[in-house]
Amino acid sequence: MIGSQYSEKLLALKQRLQLETTLSAEELQQKYLGAHGVFTLLAKQITELTADERKLAGKPLNDLKMALATAILAAHKTTSGQGWVDLSLPGEPPQVGHVHPISQAMAEITQIFTSIGFTRVRYPEVDWDWYVFESLNMPPNHPARDEWETFFVDQAPDEKKGQMVLTTHTSNGQVREMERLGEPPIRMINIARCYRRQQDVTHTQMFHQFEGLVVDKGITIQHLKGTLDYFAKAFYGPGTKSRIRPFHFQFTEPSFEVDFSCHICGGSGISLTSIPQGIGTAQKCKFCKSGWHEVGGCGMVHPNVLQAGGIDPEIYTGFAFGWGIERTYTLKAGLAIDDIRLLYSGDLQFLEQF
């Protein structure tokens, strides 16, 4: 064979390759590159050329080889993309567990307060009367104690600290935190289990509270308001407002009750129900009292409490707040849980939703 014939054969083969549109990658491989494939055979024939002719034929032969590889690759991609697949199949879920809603609320509350410099602490759930009541300006038999339905532990009382009780609130952490630190500044968040002798759809014998305590020089009611506002916006959403109203607790003076604006009715107390014609009908909001939700109590720390914790009330002032986690959490949009006992039932149908 002479060189020109070889070149023609190469060209013809290249043109033929361009017409091969229906063959699969495997078929192309077999037809051209198999042991008896047309390219394989042609490539072997190069030995029949003279040395000079071989030099000239080398490049087109190599080009053809590249073209073949590209064609096979392209054919490969086309075929695999054309098979029938069913993307309407449902996914196969991994087994997923759930962090308990109270833990989720605690984590969120912790995050909000630590971001403004509070330190989270943990104090006893079974404590002496001194820390739970007496150091908080509530001597034994004080009528204010009626509001705390207290469980007593069947143990001999301590001579100085009184009876052993289950903590009825997280406020036992107030004097304990003062004792731990010795002196201000104090910015504590204490989250714990509490216990009261009551049980119905809105009360469980065990529940959770979070307690804030700030003591330093120059702490005023304005700082309490600022902290409440910060929490309300972070926990319920940017538009939420807070307000404080006069109240009474033995361990704070002045004392307040805290309200957060209702996010369902936007704090108006009126929910608008639209009807098809586009005219709204105004109804009283079912979720709040006149646009506000009561969440709990707070106040400026009573001088007697500061003294009980070894802090000079002439130099320092402070504020404290303590609210139920269950109540605070279930005020979030969509969480109107009708029976609070579900939280502690261990019922997976309930827990899996969170």
Binding site: G97, S103, V153, Y195, G226
Partner: protein
């Protein structure tokens, strides 16, 4: 305490033009909270929460005083009307007052008068409507008047049957009861004293009244009563509370008196009472007025500087404005230089320290008018070292992510659960006053509660649940040791549960974890750290695997990050060997022994188990040189020999 007040009744004491809705808003912002406004027969009735320190506001007049002080702050003119109770005129006939043996230590005041010719007439409509509006039962006028007067002025009074008193000697002895004395209240319930209750007795030692709480049947009015002794007394608050709580007799009178209602109010109560008995029942005053007032509330002055006001409020309030506000609350106020000298009225014993006065000024000024700002003081950095809340959250998130459910169960247990916990019943702390039988003992283990949760969810098997909570171990003469514990109960297979635990400990970068057990035992112990600290245990019972682990041990041994190991520069040779092992071979010790055979065996893991065949995945590695087949062959032989000689097992397949 809540009090119901009809709008029209309030206006009898208040000069003001105000819409009920606005009154609700303003009063709630600066005073007692108006929780609801009810419509009762066309009249708005306020439902107001009065705090326990404010017995003075537990009356129509008390609320009117608050409203009159608050409305001007909102630009609404308001005035408390003067209280026009007429003086009690001298009697037309003179009946003998009872001989009263006073006890000034127990009683602050006794005030009474005899009324005769008391006609038994129905309660007039206007009064009946008001009593109905405040949810009180309406009896005939003789009884209704005492309830009406109490509600209007906030101090109780009681009508005795004068003739019953005369029949028993016309004597009242104020004293403490001994133990074991009996009395029957006017509603017919009988009680026995425990000793120490303040009572009225007659000359024969019979109890004839539970003063400041409730009347007794033997001296109260009945259908035949024509002459009454109208009496208001003021027993010591602690004594009232003791008696009322001890016998669970919780009356309006007791609630007022135990919260220190002002004895000075009794004068107006008696005058208003007499006026109503005269007007409605045609009664005549038949004795002089007896008044023994041994201990009026004499309240000390409280001084407050403008600096102190500023210290709490953060804004300066002119002392003149503060004075004006306090005077509307009937305080006597003087300004001396930079100081307010405040003398509270006798009905405000709650105002005793400067902070109390700050509260009065601040609430009238309006908390809503104070700015809101965050603290600019230094952030405290002294954190408790024994807790790590972030670690607890990592544990919760990790276990939930691998499919386990977090639960919260009660810290209190029934007797059966306490016994099931593995600790004897008498080593549990017990409640002195449990509410329900299923919550009596403070738990020492989380396992029974978690086991119950797994059992209660049969449709979710296999199920793994966990909880981080305290257990309570009693200590002599001290609070219990509260041990924060991670408890796990799972109905999955042991290997799966243990695998998750090991992965968790590895995620927390806890080094040197050892899980040790005796051959065939149903319990394994978990050790952590260089000191081989006991951190918890794993128990396998019929249905479940239970793990308890002290969170404190995790906090102590967890690291925030691993110790970095450079990547291997030489090849790791990995191969699987399968052995047939005799039944009841403890795999843990076998694996430990194989792993320790040679330093070049860097990892040895159990990959599959099929009948008695155990396949181990083995990594051979030398940090400096690539291992050759010739170097691995003798290692492999030693492994096979070890299994054969020490454990009686044989390799599946042939060594080449």
């Amino acid at each position: 305490m809540n009090i119901l007040i009809p709008h029209s009744w309030l206006l009898e004491h208040l000069e003001a033009e105000i819409e009920p809705k606005k009154l609700q808003e303003y009063l709630s912002l600066c005073g007692p909270s108006v929780e609801q406004i009810y419509d009762k027969a066309g009249e708005p009735v306020y439902d107001i929460e009065v705090t326990t320190n404010r017995a003075d506001a537990m009356s129509v007049r008390g609320i009117a005083r608050e409203v009159a002080a608050i409305l001007p702050q909102f630009g609404v003119a308001a005035q408390l009307k003067p209280l026009a109770t007429p003086k009690i005129l001298p009697p037309t006939q003179e009946l003998a007052l009872p001989a009263i043996t006073e006890n000034d230590a127990l009683n602050k005041r006794t005030l009474c008068v005899v009324l005769s010719n008391v006609r038994r007439v129905p309660t007039p409509d206007w009064m009946a409507q008001r009593l109905t509006a405040i949810d009180m039962n309406v009896h005939d006028a003789v009884i209704a008047i005492t309830n009406y007067v109490t509600h209007e002025l906030g101090h109780p009074c009681h009508a005795f049957d004068y003739d019953k008193l005369v029949a028993s000697g016309n004597q009242i002895i104020i004293c403490e009861a001994g133990a074991g004395e009996s009395f029957t209240t006017l509603d017919g319930n009988s009680f026995t004293t425990v000793g120490g209750e303040v009572v009225f007795k007659d000359g024969a030692g019979q109890i004839i009244d539970l003063p400041s709480i409730k009347g007794t049947l033997n001296a109260s009015i009945n259908a035949r009563t024509k002459r009454i002794l109208l009496l208001a007394e003021s027993i010591n608050p602690e004594k009232v509370r003791f008696t009322s709580m001890t016998h669970a007799i919780r009356t309006t009178a007791a609630q007022l008196m135990e919260k220190n209602a002002d004895p000075a109010l009794a004068s107006d109560v008696l005058r208003l009472g007499v006026k109503l008995y005269q007007a409605i029942c045609g009664a005549e005053v038949a004795s002089a007025v007896y008044d023994h007032f041994s201990r009026p509330n004499r309240l000390s002055s409280v001084t407050l500087t403008s600096k102190e006001l500023l210290r709490y409020l953060g804004v300066a309030i002119p002392l003149n404005s503060a004075k004006e506000m306090l005077e509307r609350l009937e305080c006597a106020v003087e300004i001396a230089h930079d100081t307010l000298v405040v003398t509270p009225p006798s009905f405000r014993p709650d105002l005793s320290i400067p902070a109390d006065i700050v509260e009065e000024v601040a609430r009238l000024y309006g908390y809503h008018n104070l700015p809101s700002t965050l603290m600019a003081t230094p952030i405290p950095t002294n954190r408790p070292l024994d807790t790590n809340f972030t670690l607890e959250e990592i544990v919760q998130e990790f276990l939930a992510t691998v499919g386990w459910q977090e639960v919260y169960t009660y810290s209190l247990m029934s007797e059966a659960e306490a016994i099931a916990s593995g600790f004897s019943l008498d080593t549990h702390l017990k409640l002195a006053n449990p509410l329900t039988e299923d919550k009596v003992y403070l738990r020492r283990s989380l396992t029974p509660s978690l086991t119950a949760v797994v059992a209660a969810n049969p449709m979710r098997q296999p199920l793994s649940v966990f909880e981080i909570a305290n257990v309570y171990h009693p200590r002599a003469n001290d609070l219990p040791e509260e041990v924060l514990t991670l408890g796990i109960v799972s109905s999955s297979a042991y290997r799966r549960v243990r695998g998750v635990l090991e992965a968790l400990l590895s995620k927390l970068h806890i080094a040197q974890v050892e899980i040790e057990t005796a051959a065939g035992s149903h319990e394994a112990k978990i050790f952590c750290g260089p000191q081989h600290e006991l951190a918890g245990s794993i128990t396998q019972n019929k249905a479940n695997v239970a793990i308890v682990i002290r969170v404190r041990a995790l906090v102590t041994h967890a690291q925030s990050h691993p110790v970095y190991r450079p990547q291997a520069k030489t090849a790791i040779i990995r191969e699987d060997l399968t052995f047939t092992l005799p039944k009841q071979t403890a795999i843990g010790p076998l694996m430990a022994a194989l792993q320790n055979l040679d330093q070049h065996i860097t990892t040895l893991e159990l990959s599959t188990v099929y009948n008695d065949n155990y396949t181990f995945t083995i990594h051979y590695h030398d940090a400096k040189h690539n291992l050759t087949s010739d170097q691995i062959a003798p290692l492999r032989k030693r492994l096979v020999a070890e299994v054969a000689q020490r454990w009686g097992g044989s390799l599946v397949g042939q060594l080449t």
